[in-house]
């Protein structure tokens, strides 16, 4: 029998309680187990009513983000044994309304992501007969880092500004806007700037920097936002010049 560890889960069952409560479970602590394996053990063996999201178990789908011992992490990529002798405290992501147990409502993020138009915008599409839009390795490298985002929302959970200013578009959505702005095939930077140059866009960010620290894919959203600010400021100064576009 492997050693065991206590997992404390912040549970919220709207039909039973008005506020979340902590519930403890004793689970085996195997060297190869992630925190998600511990949750799956609870779901399969101890309490089938526990609710949480997960899918790929390999740090790709971004579904299993939760706050473990105060840090937003992907539970499929965090060893349970790293918290031995325990206890391990598992909470839903901060900044989002909790639907049930560890499941949060992500609609606000989805709406904000849509508002920055995270797709390639072309003034005019080339006919198919002209073939693909080719890119050089340098052009790919310009945006590749930002394209690694898996929408796990750990950055939103780590960002105190998103919790304090719910209108803030947030780190991942801005990093993804930057991903398309830096894509040589895209021509939509100006459209995105209309949304992001608002207060609730770039300027809400006060550069706490924790979004980049917790990002499991090293996307560096904080860096993306600051670079965007520099670009927006440069654009504004350019527009003041007599030959500027204003």
């Amino acid at each position: 029998m492997a050693q065991s560890i206590t997992i404390e889960i912040r549970r919220y069952r709207p039909e039973q309680e008005d506020e979340p409560v902590w519930q403890s479970f004793e689970v085996p602590c195997r060297d190869e187990w992630m925190v998600l394996d511990g949750l799956n053990y609870i779901k399969d063996e101890l309490d089938g009513s526990l609710s949480y999201r997960w899918a790929c178990r390999m740090g790709v789908c971004g579904s299993c983000g939760m706050v473990v011992n105060g840090e937003p992490v992907l539970t499929c990529a965090t060893y349970l044994s790293s918290f031995a002798p325990g206890p391990v405290r598992v909470e839903p992501l901060k900044g989002f309304p909790v639907i049930r147990d560890l499941v949060v409502d992500l609609q606000d993020f989805v709406d904000k992501l849509k508002s920055v138009k995270p797709w390639i915008i072309r003034d005019e599409e080339r006919p198919l007969s002209e073939g693909e839009y080719l890119q050089t390795p340098d052009e790919l490298a310009a945006y590749k880092q930002y394209s690694m985002c898996i929408n796990c929302l750990l950055c939103y959970s780590a960002c105190p500004i998103y919790s304090l200013e719910p209108t803030f578009i947030g780190p991942a959505a801005i990093a993804l806007a930057q991903r398309y702005n830096l894509d040589s095939r895209d021509q939509g930077a100006e459209e995105r700037m209309d949304v992001l140059s608002q207060h609730e866009g770039l300027w809400c960010c006060t550069f706490v920097g924790e979004c980049s620290e917790v990002c499991p894919k090293h996307v560096d959203p904080a860096g993306a936002i600051q670079r965007y600010k520099v670009a927006a400021t440069a654009e504004w100064f350019k527009s003041l010049l007599p030959w500027g576009n204003r």
């Binding site: 709207p14 309680e17 506020e19 901060k94 409502d105 105190p160 304090l164 706490v208 670079r227």
Partner: protein, 153 residues
Amino acid sequence: MSQSGKLIPSEVASRKAANPRYQLFHPKWYRPRYPIFWWVEKIAYLRFITRELTSLAVGYAAVLLMVEVWALGRGEEASHRFHDLLGSVPVLVFHGVLLALLLFHSVTWLNLAPKALVVRLGRRRLPDRLVLLGHYAAWLVATALVVWFLVGR
């Protein structure tokens, strides 16, 4: 729960009895209040708040410089009086603390510079460390110029 997965009426009634605010099929979200003292929860947040608050020291230093220029404009006597005030022990102690806050603000601010600036030389992007070194070098040059202006001339 029935076998088809639907809630049976008696179960709905018992859930309502347990919690009168429970509404079937209407999710009742829990929206936690963000704590006022969120900034003491993590060292990183505390460092951020300290960086933000030390900008008050930067503002004070700027105002002090303007007051000094104003005193200079009022003539030699006013300028001496102002310098005597600056040389008093309480003001020296206060400015010692202020210097520490200014240094903290400057160092933490400069350390963030590579995050915001992407500098390219042709097709190559300069490493963050070089961008940082450039900022510290500029800071050193500016400090040396001020020291030369005050002492060395």
